[in-house]
């Protein structure tokens, strides 16, 4: 078992709010520069750029996890991670079937670009990805599990788009695999959240929307046999010696 450094929340040019420097190869090389071993690609309500980053990372030593950051009907963000691109795509189909038919206006919201590993633009997603889908956060978590994935409550410390801000508290019986705290929290702030969420696995992620946001100091150390989805899922559940190390140590 050894330590792997992971950032499980990174956007690409598919997210309208992300900068255009979030290309496939660019994310891979930035992660390597920051000595990050595992990165999860988590665009808003979409998984279409996971493949590009995964292919760009081949032979780089960086492990790429396929995921999405779902926005629920209550405007809560939930990170959903999957074993492979196919599972993420199946889940994405469910998400898109529940997405309101509102067109994207790139001049207001930004471009939503699907790219290949060489950053060639394959298509622009025409409908707006940053909207709440017609499913609650709790329903989203259940569906992610049905599709073989894990679910993490995103940035629960923030005043918007967080489970705690919208729903006040995390029910004890909520079957979420972990909660995420923002990379910018101080150690003292993070400790307060640890008290408030006693018993929950806590990870720290960058939620990077531009390359400079990808930062070793905004990641989480995992104790794993191998850097892969299955091992991460075990660590989130604290199984068989796999575990998540406290990020603010």
């Amino acid at each position: 078992m050894r330590r792997y450094r992971a950032d499980l929340h990174v956007h690409t040019v598919l997210s309208p709010c992300a900068e255009l420097d979030m290309g496939a190869f660019d994310i891979v090389s930035r992660c390597r520069r920051e000595r990050i071993d595992i990165v999860a690609v988590t665009d808003h309500n979409a998984a279409k750029n996971c493949k590009a980053v995964k292919e760009a990372a081949k032979e780089s030593g960086l492990e790429v996890i396929c995921g999405l950051e779902v926005q629920s009907s209550e405007d809560i963000h939930v990170i959903c991670l999957f074993p492979d691109c196919d599972a993420a795509t199946a889940f994405e189909n469910w998400v898109w079937s529940l997405l309101p038919p509102v067109k994207n206006r790139p001049e207001s919201f930004g471009y939503q670009l699907v790219i290949d590993k060489d950053n060639n633009i394959i298509e622009e997603v025409p409908f707006l990805l940053v909207q709440g889908i017609d499913a609650t956060a709790d329903e989203t978590i259940v569906q992610a599990h049905k599709n073989g994935g894990v679910a993490v409550l995103a940035h629960i410390d923030r005043p918007v788009y967080s489970y705690v801000a919208v729903l006040g508290l995390i029910p004890e019986n909520l079957r979420v695999d972990a909660v995420e705290l923002s990379g910018r929290l101080t150690k003292e702030e993070a400790l307060l959240w640890r008290e408030k969420t006693a018993g929950r696995t806590i990870i720290r992620s960058s939620d990077a929307h531009r390359l400079d946001d990808i930062d070793r100091g905004k990641t989480t150390c995992f104790l794993l046999e191998r850097p892969c989805f299955e091992e991460i899922a075990m660590a989130l559940r604290n199984e068989a010696g796999r575990r998540v190390l406290w990020p603010w140590e």
Partner: protein, 115 residues
Amino acid sequence: MKISEILRQLGATVHVTAGLDRDVEVGVVGDLLSFIMGSAPEGAVWVTIQNHVNVAAVAVLKEIPLVLLASGRTPSPELEDHCARESIALASTGLDAFELCGRLYEMGLCGSRRS
């Protein structure tokens, strides 16, 4: 004003009938539970479109006797159960939150600033 009278005048669908003879004078509106937890006056009628089970927990915390779901939202079965257990009246209406607050204001209820 008695809760039963408010519900009668609104023509609301009542899901949990606990404590209908209680009096209320203040109202609050909001869907972010953290905001309601931080700012709702105790004993207020709460107008919201949020139908998550946590609504009951926040209502207990703020001693809210009546939750009114607006815009045709219906309670989840879990929310109904919890409200019944905690003796919180729960009703829904097709009126949107703006219209609903206007009606409550006409009935003499007010926001926290005037209470």
